[in-house]
């Protein structure tokens, strides 16, 4: 249930503050929408989660760009708004007053000044001339201080991102990142597309959380149309969502070992992940579990043979995974590297609105599966492991505990699936124009929040995606300073931040 509040631009801060104090996890998303075609003004939306499991709070502030394209900044009261406001400034040209840091974020030095791609009067096929602006990065001065630029092209198979370390010897004391190198403009492209077409783009926002993005998108559509998803579909949705979490978490544990050159762990992680991805392929016909989730339900059924196969793979995965974890827990050399490395303090995690594994490792006890149950999660008790130390080790142990918890959830769901009716999906009726809906799901990295406004003829007017990585990237420059630069890859891997989720 969404509670909508509409205010004028100058009252945005007061309204947001009131919702902020009533919310559990704080600001979930903040974005603009060019609604001049509807009522002549821009709108700034701020989404908060309410204290009740069902409740979402949405504050909408109207900004008249003829008067002044600006609104009061939320960053002074809600630090999590910092990146959102920079993005709105880049893409819509709306200025957050009193935000001292409105440096470019999404658009780089080659994008011309004064061209705002998310406004409706910017055509998708427009040819953009190349500009040569500045792209200032945070840095530091002083005797003996030097900068280490890294990327955007890296030596491994990683997406592009540029990091600027300010160093005093081996110790990093400042870090800034330049991201969004391969921004695809998915939010822009889907405008005017039908729901069915847009699903393909939504599912491909990110490889590693395909299910989560597809699920969030479909739930958005279902919340607008008030469609009731059949029970069996909800069970299958939970199963594939947990399969996604499993292969990600196990792969991430292995990758973490690669970050410190522990090859036994790396090999086992890769092996177990491969088994799970083959299972994914058997279940959905796609190693990344794509194509399973559609608006109104799921596309394929789980037959008895597949259920057997899932049971078998889970059994083998569980015992092997426990063995690998045992190797890590008893390895002092390994523990020495991960303990007390890259600490993200509780306060920072809370104020920056950090989500997922990173939040739960820093003492923020929050998981959308338990706190805002969706799909079939309301039927089960979801144990949420959380640690307080906020270091690399804590993020590792959260992943380990969640992996075992995931296996338990899948088993529960497999027991339930045999009791359900065979309906897989309901028809989604034509959607009423200019209606907004919110969908959310907990991916392996944290909550993916989708917001969608329908246009005429069952099309999309505006689509906004707040991915888990979008919320967590700003935490990295907090966790890294004070550590030595050779520990950066390890810290970075423990957050497991996604570039594609930013480049949506």
């Amino acid at each position: 249930m969404i509670k909508n509040y509409t205010v004028s631009a100058k009252n945005l801060r007061a309204a947001a503050n009131a919702c902020y104090s009533k919310s559990k996890h704080g600001l979930l998303a903040m974005f603009a929408n060019d609604e001049r075609q509807i009522h002549g003004k821009f709108a700034i939306y701020c989404l908060f989660d309410g204290r009740n499991p069902e409740e979402m709070l949405s504050v909408k502030a109207l900004v008249d760009d003829q008067e002044a394209p600006e609104y009061p900044s939320l960053t002074p009261i809600i630090p999590a708004a910092a990146w959102f406001e920079r993005e709105i400034h880049d893409l819509f040209g709306l200025t957050a007053l009193e935000n001292k840091d409105l440096r470019p974020l999404v658009l780089h030095e080659n994008w011309p000044q004064g061209l705002y791609p998310m406004r409706k009067d910017f055509a998708v096929e427009a040819v953009v001339p190349e500009a040569h602006k500045d792209f200032p990065l945070a840095h530091a001065h002083g005797e003996g201080v030097f900068e280490v630029p890294v990327g955007p092209i890296h030596a491994g198979i990683i997406e592009p991102g540029h990091f600027r370390f300010s160093q005093a010897g081996e110790t990093t004391f400042r870090l800034d990142a330049k991201l969004f190198f391969t921004h695809r403009g998915i939010e822009k492209i889907v405008e005017g597309q039908t729901i069915e077409q847009a699903l393909f783009s939504a599912e491909r926002i990110c490889g590693a959380c395909s299910v989560s993005h597809a699920l969030s998108f479909c739930q958005t559509v279902e919340s607008i149309s008030k469609a009731i998803v059949p029970e069996r579909a909800n069970v299958i949705r939970v199963i594939v969502a947990e399969l996604e979490r499993l292969y990600n978490h196990i792969g991430d544990v292995g990758n973490l070992c690669a970050g410190l050159g522990f090859s036994v762990g790396t090999s086992h992680g890769a092996r177990l992940k491969e088994h799970l991805m083959r299972l994914n392929d058997a279940v959905t016909g796609n190693r990344f579990l794509r194509g399973m989730i559609i608006p109104g339900g799921v596309r394929y059924d789980l037959s008895g043979g597949l259920i057997e196969e899932i049971y078998k793979t889970l059994k083998r995965t569980e015992s092997d995974f426990r063995e690998v974890v045992g190797l890590l827990e008893e390895n002092d050399q390994f523990l020495d590297r991960v303990n007390t490395t890259g600490i993200l303090p509780f306060q920072a995690a809370k104020e920056l609105g950090v989500v997922g594994v990173a939040a739960r490792a820093s003492g923020v006890d929050y998981d959308l599966r338990r706190d805002k149950p969706y799909s079939g999660y309301a039927w089960i008790t979801c144990n949420v492991p959380f640690y307080r130390s906020g270091d690399v080790a804590a993020r590792l142990w959260v992943r380990v505990d969640e992996t075992l918890e995931s296996i338990r959830i899948v088993r529960q769901m497999l027991e339930r699936i045999v009791l359900t009716q065979t309906d897989l999906a309901v028809e989604i009726p034509p959607l009423e124009p200019y209606k907004a809906g919110i969908g959310w799901s907990e991916s392996a990295r944290g909550g993916n929040i989708h917001w969608l406004m329908t246009g005429k003829d069952n099309t999309i007017y505006r689509y906004f995606v707040r991915s888990a990585s979008y919320a967590n990237w700003p935490a990295l420059p907090v966790a890294v300073p004070g550590n030595i630069i050779p520990d950066f890859p390890l810290i970075n891997k423990s957050f497991e931040l996604c570039y594609a989720c930013l480049d949506r």
Binding site: V148, H154, S263, V264, P486, P489
Partner: protein, 306 residues
Amino acid sequence: MFLDNIMVLFVKALFLTVMAPLVAGLIKKCKAILQNRRGPGVFQLYFDIAKWLSKDSVISPTTSWIFKVAPFIYFACAVGAAGLSPLILFTGITVWPADLFMVLYLFVLSRFSLALASLDAGSAFGGMGGSREMYIAALVEPALLLTMLTVAFKAHSTNIMDMTVSVAGGAGGLSVIFAAAAFFIILLAETGRIPVDNPDTHLELTMVHEGMILEYSGRRLGLIVWASAIKQLVLIVIFSTLFLPWTPAIGGGASQIAWFVGKILLTAGGLALSETLANKMRLFKVPGFLAVAGLLALLAIVAGVD
């Protein structure tokens, strides 16, 4: 006699230079098998070096002559050390300049030239690699010297040939075990292996040796990689001759050669195993690790006193 000695020196250098990539390949293969991978073939490094040597180098315009010359110095030092190594498959010939300090200082010179070159291009990774290499070197070199001296004390000579003969005379003992353990730690550090450095990493920020040579390409890179393999083989030969003294390879008998090759393979396998079992330690914990080598060497000296 003098000419004979020069010949032996030359033959040894040539032999180790040719064999070095094979030993490096063997270690890689062993590691791959231990880690459940197939790994590249044992001759892969020969193909890689041949490829690099036939390619042009891309040289940053900000570099000076040091950058261009350093790989040649590095290679020459490695080949020189190979010539002086205790590879005794010939009886009755004592090579004149094969002094322990000569070998050690050839290593120092090669490291110095590469560290200098790493700073030359002015890139951040090169500088970081160079500074880390010198930081580790300052700890490795005393430990290496001390370990070698445990043998030199007993031989009453720092001539490597004398040392080898002396070791061959009286094998075993507590002293040898301590010294061998100490030298193995140094072997890990000097060849840039886990837990000190990671030869297989792609993470620029953690690199030591790889960071230093990041700016190199083409034939200069080929020379550096080849020279690193030679240096590694020389150290393995020193280890297996002076610190695994059982059934010494003096003279050219078939069983001696077999023992010698066996020890080389054993050492290579040991390197692969230790790299698989360990993970990289924090950079600032490396001194403690190398201090263990120094301490073991000291114990070896004490235990060696009759």
